[in-house]
Subunit: 364 residues, 2 copies
């Protein structure tokens, strides 16, 4: 089955099977100015992941237009329109959930915090593996949680990346590792654990190219089905760097029609600082990537066909071709694999740091 | 057998087996200030690759000191001490041979010249695969053979990379491809083929880190044995970019003692713009790299033990561990594999473009 495009007057039921629509998926589409909720808001239930059945008549169509202020009462998170607002909301624990769809067009970043003795090797790891580990910025000096040094070619140093920053509080949720063992999951801040010896690293995140795919009428399947993107440990070796040896790419997967792959590659090509274009595509790519079972991702939710069957059940289908990208889980995996000593911290999965710079500012 | 270090008063016979010493290998060592020829010059023969038997007594030792001017008459190529001198000598066809060991400490580069319609994709290919394809610079605009745009973080734009440059003449020898078929091998210039639509790309070259290994007393085996470095087509996939799909890493190999691998990795780590640290090491790495036969490289000379046996004959020997680096043949292979149309040009293998900037200027 194909992944249909979104255009004005698209019948929403052709995009989102009624039983699978939730507030979260609607919020994503609306946050990206692709859906006017006014015609379907009466159908929404308050529990965000519970399915609902639309009461629209079969002839109702959904107008695609920018959201208007009066609709924001339904979805208060969309009041967060800038990176600074997102960070302040996270700092105040006013926003504690995933940052998916938050502050559209503002760059989001994975956060990894390491003891300074590993910083040079980690910087090398990123420089040598820019597709899965695109380094956007790091602490201006060890211990500095407020000032960043940019590694983006098009953003000047300092506050243009993130003003009034506090890396210890500005992700909605954090994870903490002691000697490579998870000791704190989803904690609200890392102020007590941060020391003068810690260095923060910001790694690009695929949320930005997903926005571009949605805008092009090629929304990623997991967004349409309101699931997490499936992520797989591949056999593609990372270029080793210092203590970081033996790592492999983690890849994210979004199924598309074979005929759309060239378009998908072209759309995501400019997003170099956020993984860029696909690393592999096609059913035959699974063997090359060392992925034994498409239905058993190591992270995220198992991929489905549009009608809810396991993707592996349509193996070989040219309308459901797996397309793979480098994934920001890669550097986290490399860090864990290296068995580092001391306190390591990061954002909790999906709970990113939102920056001040927009995609248009940093992309070619 | 180990790959011994070089230090003052080293017995030269422990480094270079007498039957294998040639002018070329001596020239390399001397060019890198590691050998004073005054004590052995009476032994040199005029044919550069022919072996010779030393007439030194078994107790003679060789003093390691900088070369002096009076010795230069023996090896006129070492009069070329700067990048500009090397380019002018190539332009005048005064130097027509390999640039190995020429103008020590000056950066050397692989040259690839493409029709402009492929330039953006090739730039992406390099940005996404910086270890095998480290892009140093490219034509400031299509058709420009004299001015470069730097991609090195530490060199300002323009003439600091290469002053008075002519990409059409300044490599000692060139290759020419028409519609991806080699139509001119080892030609002295590409002035007739260069058009307003051509874009030149300079890719980092491993000669610089080889110099560092020699200086550290860990000379690459192929230099000691006066052979070409062996290069292998590996199964590590390149991150695809536009028209450049399906490519894989080409890797170069230098055998070392297992105990020296960490030192080797550390020495080559800072050479990010010239492939940087090793990508794999150890006998077990061959399977991971998809290299079936260590004794059958796709390019260069087959590797040998220090006493001249095929390296594969000592499989598993911890004193002869294969160590692999990303190789500048990779982008050439990717270009050939892409089946591009039109006229493509490059340096002839080993006949590099020598730049004005030194390693110390561009390396961290």
């Amino acid at each position: 089955m194909s992944s249909p495009g979104i255009s004005a007057a698209t019948d929403i039921r052709t995009i989102l099977p009624p039983v699978l629509i939730t507030q979260e998926s609607l919020r994503f589409l609306q946050a990206h100015s692709l859906l006017n909720l006014s015609q379907v808001s009466h159908c929404l239930r308050s529990d965000s992941r519970a399915p609902w059945t639309p009461t629209m008549s079969t002839t109702t169509t959904t107008t695609i237009s920018p959201p208007v202020a009066t609709q924001l009462t339904l979805i208060p998170e969309t009041k967060i329109r800038t990176g600074l607002q997102a960070r302040l909301a996270a700092r105040a624990n006013a926003h504690t959930k995933s940052t998916s769809g938050l502050a559209p067009s503002f760059l989001q970043a994975n956060l990894i915090v390491l003891p300074s003795r590993y910083a040079a090797d980690f910087r090398d790891l990123c420089a040598r593996n820019p597709v899965p580990c695109p380094l956007l910025a790091d602490s201006a000096s060890p211990g500095d949680f407020a000032n960043l040094r940019s590694h983006l070619p098009r953003v000047p140093e300092g506050t243009a990346i993130a003003s009034s920053l506090d890396l210890r509080t500005d992700c909605p949720r954090f994870n903490i590792y002691n000697n490579s063992t998870l000791t704190g999951a989803g904690v609200p801040d890392i102020a007590a654990q941060w020391t003068e010896d810690h260095v923060g690293f910001l790694i690009g995140c695929s949320y930005s190219f997903e926005t571009a795919l949605v805008a092009a009428g090629l929304p990623p399947r997991h967004l349409v089905l309101d699931r997490n993107v499936p992520m797989y440990r591949s056999s593609i070796p990372l270029n080793p760097a210092g203590v970081f040896t033996g790592g492999t790419y983690v890849v994210s997967m979004r199924p598309y029609r074979r005929d759309d792959v060239d378009k998908i590659r072209a759309i995501t090509r400019r997003f170099l600082p956020t993984h860029g274009e696909c690393v592999a595509w096609g059913w035959e790519a699974l063997a090359r990537l060392g992925i034994a079972d498409i239905d058993s991702p190591q992270w995220g939710d198992a991929p489905l066909t549009m009608d809810g069957r396991p993707l592996g059940s349509v193996w070989g289908d040219e309308d459901n071709v797996p397309v793979f990208w480098g994934c920001g889980v890669t550097p986290q995996e490399a860090v864990m694999r290296a068995g580092l000593e001391g306190v390591i911290m990061g954002h909790a999965p999906g709970h990113m740091l939102v920056l001040d710079c927009t995609e248009d500012q940093v992309l070619p």
